[in-house]
Point group: C2
């Protein structure tokens, strides 16, 4: 039975965002913002606060073997598979108050709204708070990867740092494998998150449905020329590896721009050898990455990036060694889930506005969870596109609207899944 | 009286180059080549060998307070000012056999040829072997700077490394100031050297007169953009400092090329911050230099390089901080000395060949000596332009021809100065 009267407690949601944001706050002299690395004291305090709010919302609360916090509402009517909502409360250093935390607190408000309205759902509802989404302990999406069975059971035992951090949080690293859930336990996983980019803010639209999470391909290029005397070597005879790298940077960016809005590419690392002011660089090593939602596009970019490196090298009479690096495959959101999210969002937009379908260019726990169940994500705007910095912000009305869409979507998913 | 019969002992010159090149040789597993840092055992052995050859040539030999080796022939007829010929025998690591050593050994052959011919010169002749031309101890041109009175007398006392190195070579750092010679003691200083670049080799001409030694201006640029998430930050909104640096590298090179053959410019240092593969570079710091013989051209390049940095920054929506660094002023060779060198060289070229006037793009002891007396330099070709590497080489006939030109020039200078 759909509880028509279920409504988000807007004021409390905003208050709790503010309250949680006080835990782990850094003084301005230390750069400001929030710092809550997973398993650390600030994160433990935040998790305990969130667990309390879960209990108030009527959820049965437990911590799994990875330190994930799980709150569960009801046993469900016709199905044992739960609808899961969630995100994370760990942060990067100098973080803002919304990344992760917003999705968790909105999910608790959804649960509370359903409880208050006496909604009888066909599915149990779970609120999931994942450990170490930011990768400061276990390499990224650690808690959700553990829940999806993607972490080797002895991972935390083998890595002393991870094991020690877990033990300090009262966890037994040897039992990490127990965090894995069985296929069929979850009907879907839906994550509400700030966009972290500036697209929605520029569009002036308060909510978007995520089509999928981009795949990430890293690469390395070593350009090799000839180190030589910066005075006596004629300009025309030179084989300057830094100039080959410079050409590559500009040509690579040009190619990424041609690909259009769905693709980004960055070179973040560049080192010259020998790296002396009076020696022509003989070697330039760079590391970069590109992100796209389509696997075919990523494959195309692999070949094109290698080609661009070769051309840049040739024009400077250097050679290029191109090497593919780490690879995160794209994750596509579930069509049924997307439809429910879109239907829930549409009535909340102004007349004439369409619900945008965006790709997520950052990693999220939904990527891991896609290995376990259908997933979906909602984005609300990030003002100015700021993310992972203290000035990260979203308009209060958009934060509330996002939670309302999550509530409406939960009710729809309960009917359609 | 000009001794018409004076001739270079070609075979001995080549043998001694080979013999001196065996002192300080590094095994191939250590990268090969020669390593003779000033005041070290290999350098001491080489200097002692050279002192012996000087004595055989009839020179009165002494070591000055900086460790420079000075051989003197005759007291001169009408003038007390000596004609000085020379160079250095210290090396960079993995050096070839010619840099410095060739000029010293050719000068000894000139002295020996004059002695054998019974030449009665108007001027005394000196052969100078300067300590630490390569700057591995005292910062470059150390011995010649000391002789020219350009080193502060307490320099070696204040710098423990330099003082210790001198003491190991049997020198008293407190007496360094005694190495300075008085203006008027030397009528001129002429240095025969390999070119270290590839110009003569490409021209197919065995000898050149040096017009002057280029000035060197170093600079630093810090490009500042905005570090941001490599995934969520749209391509079009970015302020990527690495791209500003890349533009600068290419534009700067273009400008240097437009300046023509007399000018070189290099960026040898480039660092990105934060330097992570998944973060857009917020800061790119680079260090470079340009070299030209004309002071006006150097001043023009200072302004143009700053402007190029500003334009590159603006196109990438970054800012550029441009800063001038170390400065070596250009040194012009003396017109009278150049005329004598040219007259000595011309008869040794093939019909139709002109004696090229080249600028020296590397530093030489002649730069210091120009503060004391008129200077001139001769270049012989460097095969392939290789320098400061084991494969540094010059054709045997060009090495002999260079020494013959030095001999003829000495006789002319004795008449004209």
């Amino acid at each position: 039975m759909v509880a028509e009267a279920a409504t988000i407690n807007a004021q409390r949601l905003l208050q709790r965002i503010e309250q949680l944001g006080r835990i782990g706050r850094l003084p301005e002299v230390q750069g400001g913002g929030i710092n809550r690395p997973t398993y650390g004291p600030a994160w433990m305090e935040a998790r305990s606060r969130v667990a309390g709010w879960m209990s108030e919302a009527g959820l049965a609360v437990r911590v799994d073997a990875a330190g994930n916090l799980i709150g569960r509402l009801g046993s469900g009517g016709g199905s044992a598979a739960a609808i899961a909502l969630g995100s994370h409360i760990d942060t990067v250093p100098h973080a803002g108050p919304l990344d992760g935390a917003y999705g968790v607190l909105a999910a608790i408000e959804v649960a509370d709204a359903l409880r208050r309205a006496g909604a009888q759902l066909r599915h149990p509802l779970e609120v999931l708070v994942f450990a170490d989404e930011e990768g400061r302990i276990g390499g990224g999406l650690f808690g959700s990867r553990a829940m999806a069975g993607l972490v080797e059971p002895d991972f935390a035992e083998r890595l002393t740092d991870v094991g020690d951090a877990m033990r300090e949080a009262g966890l037994d690293p040897r039992r990490l494998g127990e965090a894995a859930r069985k296929p069929g336990e979850l009907a879907c996983y839906v994550e509400l998150h700030i966009e972290q980019g500036g697209r929605l803010d520029r569009m002036g639209i308060p909510v978007a449905v995520v089509r999928g999470l981009v795949g990430i391909r890293r690469f390395r290029v070593a350009f090799r020329g000839q180190a030589n005397h910066a005075g006596t070597t004629e300009m025309r005879g030179r084989r300057d590896a830094a100039l080959a790298a410079a050409r590559f940077l500009l040509d690579f960016r040009e190619r990424i721009l041609e690909k259009g809005e769905g693709v980004v590419g960055t070179v973040g690392v560049l080192d010259l050898e020998p790296g002396a002011v009076n020696v022509i660089p003989g070697v330039a090593r760079l590391e970069g990455e590109f992100r796209a939602l389509e696997a075919a596009e990523l494959a195309e970019l692999e070949a094109e990036t290698a080609r661009i490196a070769g051309v840049a090298a040739e024009r400077e009479r250097c050679t290029a060694e191109f090497e593919l690096g780490a690879w995160d495959p794209p994750t596509l959101c579930d069509p049924k889930v997307m439809t429910a999210l879109e239907a829930a969002a549409r009535p909340r937009l102004r007349a004439g506005q369409e619900v945008p379908r965006l790709d997520s260019r950052a990693g999220h726990d939904a990527q891991s969870m896609a290995h376990l169940c259908p997933v979906g994500m909602l984005f609300v705007p990030s003002l100015g596109g700021y993310s992972h910095v203290p000035q990260e912000a979203t308009r209060a009305e958009d934060l509330v609207l996002g939670a309302e869409v999550l509530l409406a979507a939960t009710l729809r998913l309960d009917q359609t899944l």
